[in-house]
């Protein structure tokens, strides 16, 4: 392993730990044996046999089916995610997965200070509304991760809206990712169109030099149903 690679790995390890620790991110940051990929897959129930085949594929081609935001999964299953979140695990034809997570909110009373501090996701309900504050939105495929926090509001009989978004972060053990930027926002939903906020970063693989635009997005229907996307 070259010195520069070690430095990149170490820096990325910090990024993973700091930025995506409570998201869909890898459990470790070691890349030599792809323990980070294996930990990610194990966390979401990918069998060891499939993991072995994915590692082989990764070492041969530099990726797997889940790596592209435009890939079509063969199944999507919701399950409990890390750090009190709900994960949607999309499985692709080769057994690889992409995971999006939305942090679960802790109820609070209107007018009171959150019991979870500023890093937690809370929901405050009042007459005809529910406001979700500071909820972590994350997406990743084991190779690259992009997360941010958002606040949004459901309104009884009205249209839900995104109130704000902030704190974007990226992590990868296999390439460089540019500083994430808020790429698109439409905060107000309508009867026909969801509200959405998107952050993007450009990923460049160390091994192949290939590059890709990476997105993580929060979609909010008029009724206030939130979902997380990768495009």
């Amino acid at each position: 392993m070259s010195t520069s690679f070690k430095i990149k790995t170490a820096l990325t390890a910090l990024a993973v730990t700091a930025a995506v620790a409570v998201s869909a991110g890898p459990a470790t940051a070691e890349t030599e044996g792809h323990e980070d990929l294996r930990a990610f897959w194990t966390q979401y129930g990918v069998s060891e046999t499939v993991q072995d085949s994915l590692i082989d594929k990764f070492e041969t081609t530099g990726g797997f089916d889940a790596s592209s935001a435009a890939a079509i999964p063969v199944s999507v299953v919701a399950q409990p995610g890390p750090a009190d979140s709900t994960a949607n695990v999309a499985t692709y034809a080769d057994g690889s997965i992409a995971v999006t997570t939305l942090e679960n909110a802790t109820p609070t009373d209107p007018g009171t200070i959150s019991t979870r501090g500023i890093s937690g996701c809370t929901v405050t309900s009042g007459s005809g509304y529910a406001t979700y504050n500071g909820c972590l939105i994350s997406a990743g495929d084991g190779i690259k991760f992009l997360s941010f926090r958002a606040s949004y509001q459901r309104v009884s009989g009205g249209y839900a809206k995104i109130l704000s978004s902030n704190s974007p972060a990226t992590a990868s053990n296999y390439g460089d990712m540019t500083d994430p930027v808020r790429a698109y926002m439409r905060y107000q939903s309508t009867s026909l169109q969801d509200a959405v906020v998107k952050y993007s970063s450009v990923y460049t693989s160390w091994s192949s030099g290939g590059s890709e635009t990476v997105y993580t997005s929060l979609w909010l229907t008029a009724g206030g149903t939130a979902s997380v996307g990768r495009s």
Partner: protein, 251 residues
């Protein structure tokens, strides 16, 4: 990541003429004139040929569209030698086209003299919009809504690939019934993916917002691709909206 790109091809590959008449998106790619070289491609510095992983992915792409192994070997040999292939060459004339269909997409495969290919895909309808004014469906659009004489498709994905560059973006558009002029409402979230090189962050714009008597409304995404062999060019993908349908092409 490379396997993911191939999934795009599979997805695009499911489209066909039926999809063209019934629905949503035609996808193509072609090199634009005025090619530029991405000067600051740090990631590819020092590389003079495609990597093993590039080769593996290209072979998977070519195999998917039935390019003969012997032809693949010849193409790889050209790329390994620092050359390029016809599918990446400005002005190269195709020698044949054929359509490959699946349950979800149809893809038109265009072949060139050296056996290299580029693909054009159309997504088949995933569902029919209630009250739609035409047989067109919402395809991969997130939502749709119809009114008197029109139907609007919101947040629809459009993607293209030629094996080296994937381009895509979201588009919202309105199809006006009959001979009324269709129009683009909005485009956003451009996406680029480079194989065997880097693709710059794409630019995105609407070229013509509303269809007119002489042609379609269109929006475009552009990216500068810099291959590890040193070549580079600007690719432009267009989404056309007109004649009560949508399609994407290389410009």
């Amino acid at each position: 990541m490379f396997g993911g790109k191939l999934k795009i091809h599979r997805r695009i590959a499911a489209v066909g003429l039926a999809g063209l008449t019934a629905a949503t998106m035609v996808l193509t790619l072609a090199p634009a004139a005025g090619a530029t070289v991405l000067a600051n491609s740090v990631a590819t510095q020092g590389q003079t040929s495609i990597s093993d992983s590039d080769e593996a992915e290209l072979r998977e792409f070519w195999t998917q569209y039935e390019v003969a192994p012997s032809t693949q070997n010849a193409l790889v040999q050209k790329l390994r030698a620092g050359g390029t292939v016809d599918a990446l060459t400005d002005g190269a004339q195709p020698t044949s086209t054929r359509t490959v269909s699946s349950e979800t997409d149809d893809v038109t495969v265009t072949s060139f003299a050296d056996g290299s290919i580029q693909i054009t895909g159309v997504e088949k309808p995933l569902e029919e919009a209630e009250g739609a004014i035409s047989p067109m469906s919402v395809g991969s659009c997130r939502t749709s809504g119809s009114g008197s004489g029109y139907n609007t498709y919101y947040d629809c994905k459009a993607y293209l690939s030629n094996g080296f560059v994937d381009l895509g973006f979201y588009i919202t558009y309105t199809i006006v019934a009959g001979t009324g002029y269709d129009y683009i409402v909005e485009v956003n979230s451009p996406y680029a993916y480079g194989i065997g090189g880097t693709a710059s962050t794409p630019t995105l714009a609407i070229g013509r917002k509303t269809e007119y008597a002489g042609g379609s409304a269109w929006a475009y995404a552009r990216t500068s691709y810099s291959g590890v062999n040193g070549g580079g060019r600007t690719y432009e993908m267009r989404a056309l909206v007109g004649s009560n349908r949508t399609l994407t092409i290389w410009a």
